[in-house]
Structure formats: C-alpha cells, structure tokens
C-alpha cells in the first residue's frame, strides 16, 4: 500500500461528499484569503505612505524657524528668524561637504489670474532653481528659471500641472503672463505631474526666483524655510550634523537644547511612518490569522463527523487487513488535501481580490504571506486532522464493525 494509493483513497472519500468537503474548504479559503489580503492591504498602505514621503524627497532636510517663546531662552541674543544670509554659509563646501544644494524658500498661497480666469495657487514658492530637483519635481515643458533670473530678480514663473490646467485649460501657457497679486509673471515652464495622493495636491504649485517673490510679493523679511539637499540619501544624517553646526554658529546658539530652528528629515519621517504601517499590517494579519484558526477547527469538526460516520467503513478496512498506519495516513491526507485545496483557492481569491482597491488602498501582496498562509493551512490540516485520524486508526475492528 503505497502513499499514492492512500492519497487516491483520500481523494475518493473527499469527492464522495462534495457539499460537506466544499464547506470545509470554504472555511480555510476565507482564512487564507483574509490573511493574504489583509496583509496586502496593510502593505499597500505602507507603500502608499512611503511613496508620499519619497515624493517629498528622501535626501532632503527642511530647516524651519523655531516657535517663539522657547527660542528666546536658548538664543536670547539673536533673532531666530531664517534669513538669506544663512544660505551662502550652508553652501560652503568646506564646512558642509555633504550638502549638494541649498534653497531658501518663501512660500504662501497667492491668487493668480490669466485673462479673467482666477485661481488660488496653494503654494507660491520663491526659491533657487535647485529647489525643483530637490523636491522631486521635473520640468515637463519649457525650462526652469536660471541663477541669472534669480540674480536679476526677473519675474518669471514655472507652474505646476494643476495651475496650468486651472488657468490656461487647453491653451499653451508658455510665454504667457499671469497676474499674481497685481504683479505680472511670465510663465517659462510647466512642471511634470508629480504623483502622490495626499490631502493636498502637490501639483497646485508655482515656482519663481526668490528675489522676485521677495521684491514684489512678500518683502525682504525672513524665509519660511531652507531646503537642504544632501549629496546622497545615506549622507542625510551627516548633512544634518553639518547644517546644525553651521546654524548654531551663525545664530550664536550654545545650549544643547535648541528650539531656535527645527530640522525635519524626510527619512526619519519615513521610518516612523513605516513602523506604524508595520504595526498596522501585523494587527490585520493577526485578525486574519484567527479566522484561519477557526477554519482549522472547522476541519477538525468535519473530520470528527467523517470518522464517526465512517466507523463501519474503518472496521471493514481493518477486517480486510488495513494496518493502523494506512488508516491514519488516509485520514490525515484527507484533512490535508481539504486544507490545501482551501489554501490554494484562498490564494487565488486573494490574488483576484488584490486587483481591486480596498478602502482607497491598493493592496500589494507580500509573497511571504502567501507562502506562510499556505504552509499554515497545510499545517492546520495536519494538526487538526491528526486527532480524528488517530481516533479512526485506534478503533478496534470488532467494535467498528458493530457500529451502526
């Protein structure tokens, strides 16, 4: 009696009671599909967050001015406002070798008009040309303004995709003039669509030389922030150290706890978000795991019923000389085949389910969760099938034959 023979017996027994077998399979199917799909949803949301943060640029540092009250005690002698003076200091290659570019940023929302069409640009940014690349923007049409434009305070602007659509519709915006707070700016370029499905539209943006913006819109006050781009994602922490040292020196800060300015590190943000997402995934997986366990108990239940119902058959088989081991194997194989079929169908269901967007999250299947869920379902078949199987195998033939 080889194993293939036993498997054939088991398959025959499974197909003999199709409705019951399929209901058992359904339990496992739901469990496995739930594990894979929920983990995929968790993973999908993690990736979404990651993409959002990466679209901000992972090798950038954002320096912002600290809040009022606390700053005074740390740096009582000087103002904590960020000024244009800091920019050349931060660009010093000798003191800050890990800094690729420094962009001063003045930003605010401005209403713009073009031939009667009105649109409020959420982010009207005055900066250096380097800001565009550091913020992961690309120029789609036209060209970026240049350093000469910055030096000459020329009123030129590069607009985001949303702004272009709102103000110009189908008209080519290049070389057209828009009015921003009463000042005319010439559109020299349009930015490419930047992905990201956050709460704010990243394409609702316009970028102009910082000098022009200060001259005509905001005045020569302090900067909103300074965007520092590190030479590589791995150099971000080095760059942060250098920036901190320069800023401390420039702003005369001596205390260790400084609230004069804040440096935000995109990769730190990313890490925190990733951890949260991981916890979320784990939680979802645990909930799904419970449903898989319930499916496993379903297998035990159905196998117990099967054993009781087939007590007589087991007696016959024993009278005909079936050894204990063969009976044991047959029932174990039956349980395992049920759970394996359930597992495979569950994987199929999860793969199909992951093609749909679930609660505005695109699920991304984690291969290891498929292997894990499938392996777990087989283990469940073996584990939960073993008790009924050993009960079947342990039946004494004489009692089993008498069973009605």
């Amino acid at each position: 009696m080889n194993i293939f023979e036993t498997i054939r017996f088991a398959l025959r027994a499974i197909t003999a009671n199709k409705l019951r077998s399929s209901l058992t399979v359904l339990g496992i199917l739901i469990g496995v599909a739930a594990v894979i799909l929920l983990v995929a949803v968790g993973n999908g949301s993690a990736q979404q967050v990651q993409q959002q943060i990466e679209s901000l640029g992972t090798n950038t540092l954002t320096v912002t001015a600290g809040g009022g009250g606390g700053a005074r005690s740390a740096a009582a002698t000087t103002s904590t406002a960020l000024t244009m003076d800091l920019v050349p200091a931060l660009e010093d290659k000798a003191e800050a070798p890990h800094v690729r570019s420094v962009s001063p940023v003045v930003t605010g929302s401005q209403s713009a008009t073009y031939e009667g069409t009105d649109h409020t640009i959420a982010q009207f940014v005055g900066t250096y040309p380097g800001w565009v690349a550091a913020s992961n923007f690309k120029v789609d049409k036209g060209a970026l303004f240049t350093d000469e434009d910055v030096a000459g305070s020329r009123k030129v602007v590069v607009i985001g995709k949303t702004v272009a659509e709102e103000l110009f519709g189908t008209v080519d915006p290049l070389s057209k003039q828009i009015t921003v707070a009463g000042k005319l700016f010439t559109v020299v370029g349009v930015l490419a669509d930047k992905g990201g499905t956050g709460f704010s539209d990243p394409n609702d943006v316009a970028v102009a030389p910082v000098t022009a913006v200060q001259e005509s819109l905001t005045g020569y006050g302090s900067l909103n922030q300074i965007l520092v781009e590190a030479t590589a994602p791995g150099d971000v922490s080095d760059a942060q150290g250098e920036v901190t040292a320069i800023l401390n020196a420039k702003l005369n800060i001596t205390g260790s706890s400084t609230t004069a300015y804040r440096i935000q590190n995109a990769s730190q943000l990313l890490e925190t978000r990733a951890n949260t997402a991981e916890t979320f995934t784990l939680l979802l997986g645990a909930v799904a795991g419970i449903s898989l366990l319930v499916g496993g108990i379903g297998i035990t239940n159905i196998m117990m019923v099967t054993v009781t119902e087939r007590t007589r058959e087991i007696g016959i088989r024993k009278a005909l000389g079936a050894p204990k081991r063969t009976i044991l194997t047959q029932f174990l194989v039956e349980a395992t085949v049920l759970s394996l079929i359930g597992g495979l169908l569950g994987v199929a269901a999860a793969v199909i389910g992951s093609r749909f967007t679930i609660v505005s999250i695109k699920p991304v299947i984690v291969p290891s969760s498929v292997v894990l869920a499938l392996g777990f379902s087989v283990a469940i078949g073996l584990f939960f099938g073993s008790y009924p199987a050993s009960r079947a195998a342990g039946l004494r033939p004489i009692e089993a034959l008498r069973y009605e």
Binding site: M1, E5, R12, A319, L320, G321, A322, R325, P397, I398
Partner: protein
C-alpha cells in the same frame, strides 16, 4: 477457475498442519457481577479443504467464536493456531497482516464500501497487501468471474441486489487466496434465490479445495457443509461429519 490463479504470494509459506487449531478457548466479557462467559472452553481443529458449518441460537457464542477465529477479537484464555501461527502472540500490525493474507471475511451485512465499484471493493484487500495495480485488477476480475459477476465489475454496491452484493463480498474474501474463508451468516439477509446463488459459490469454492467456516442458524444452509458443529451456551455440543 484454477486454484493456481489465486495462489498466495510466495512469501507466505504454509505448514502442512490443520488450518485452525483452537484449544480450550474462553471468552469472558465484563467483570464481577456483570461477567458473561461467551465461550466456556472451545476446542476445535479444522483441516485444510474442510467446509464447516457452525450452528447455534443467538447468544450461543457463535459470533464471539467467529470474531476470535477472524482475529478481530482475542480470547481471554486458550490457544489459537491459525495456519500454524499462534495469533495470540501477534501485535496489532501483525494481526492486520494475518487478516489480510490468511483470512477472507464474508459478513451478514455484506459490508461493501459504499460509492466504490465492485471491482475496487474486491481489489481493496490486494491494495492493502501491496499488490501492483495491474496485477490487482487481473486477480479481482478473476475473482468476480468466479462468483459470476464479471460484467458487474463497474457497478457500485447500491446498484447491485443483495445477492449480488454478497457475491462481491465473497469475491473480495477469496481474492487474496486466504487459508480460511470465514462467513458470518452470509445468507441471513438474502432471499431464497440469492441464498442459493451464494451457497453455490461456496460449494464451488469447497470443491476447488478452499477451507470454509460458515456460521448460520438456518439448518438447510448448514446441510450443504461437510461438517456440522453445534454450539450451545459457549460449548460445543455436537460435532458431526455430514459428507
């Protein structure tokens, strides 16, 4: 049907002695006040090729004797040699082997496996014996031909009449060429015509040299055997040769 076609595997050598040698077997169920002596010391020897009918009313212990002879149950005391092997010393696994190779069962309730073709039912003991698929099929078909059901090989038990089911069960019992065919009231659930069909098969088996032990409470069934043993209250009260 030639006997050689159903010969046992070569590994099972046979002694020249009696097929059954039962000495002072007792079987006691329960303990203390509820103790029941089903067999009170039965001694019995059955030679090769014999056809023995065991008769007795219900409660006489004939089913208990049958179960012990079939290695489905073990006696409380006494010695039982089957084909020269002391089966009381065998473990579970060896007993399964003995049941498979040396005994063919025919039950009153047929006990075919449901939703399984007649051929597959007959093949079953061969499958447990580890016979290859093609050989198994050949031997099962021969056994079915012997009971006159060759053309019903693909029918499932519920598509067969009671008599046909019992003949399938007989085919299953003899397919391994066992030393002993044990039949427990094989005609108990059958009408006269089917009874005759089944008994005719037993007659042919006996004629071809098989050893048969048949338990019944019908005198006309017992009459077809070569030897009649009567059991009352767990003791043999009559043992006579009919032919």
């Amino acid at each position: 049907m030639r006997a050689a076609d159903l010969s046992a595997p070569a590994s099972l050598s046979r002694s020249a002695g009696p097929v059954l040698d039962v000495q002072r077997i007792k079987k006691i169920y329960g303990q203390g006040e509820t103790e029941v002596q089903a067999l009170r010391g039965v001694s019995l020897t059955v030679e090769r090729g014999d056809y023995v009918a065991i008769m007795g009313s219900s409660g006489s212990g004939k089913s208990t004797l049958m179960n012990i002879l079939g290695c489905l149950d073990i006696p409380t005391t006494g010695r039982y040699l089957l084909d020269g092997v002391d089966v009381s010393r065998l473990n579970d696994r060896q007993l399964a082997l003995v049941r498979n190779r040396r005994i063919g069962f025919v039950f009153q309730a047929f006990n075919l496996i449901a939703r399984t073709s007649a051929l597959a039912n007959v093949e079953l003991p061969l499958a447990y014996a580890g016979v290859k698929s093609a050989e198994r099929r050949r031997r099962a078909n021969l056994a079915l031909a012997m009971v006159g059901l060759a053309e019903r090989a693909d029918h499932e038990p519920n598509q067969l009449s009671g008599g046909q089911q019992q003949r399938v069960a007989v085919a299953r019992a003899l397919v391994t060429a066992p030393a002993l065919v044990l039949a427990d009231e094989p005609t108990g659930n059958l009408d006269t015509q089917s009874t005759n069909d089944v008994l005719a098969v037993f007659d042919r088996l006996s004629a071809s040299g098989r050893t048969i032990v048949l338990i019944t409470h019908e005198p006309d069934v017992a009459e077809r055997a070569k030897r009649l043993i009567r059991l009352v209250d767990g003791r043999i009260v009559q043992d006579e040769r009919l032919k």
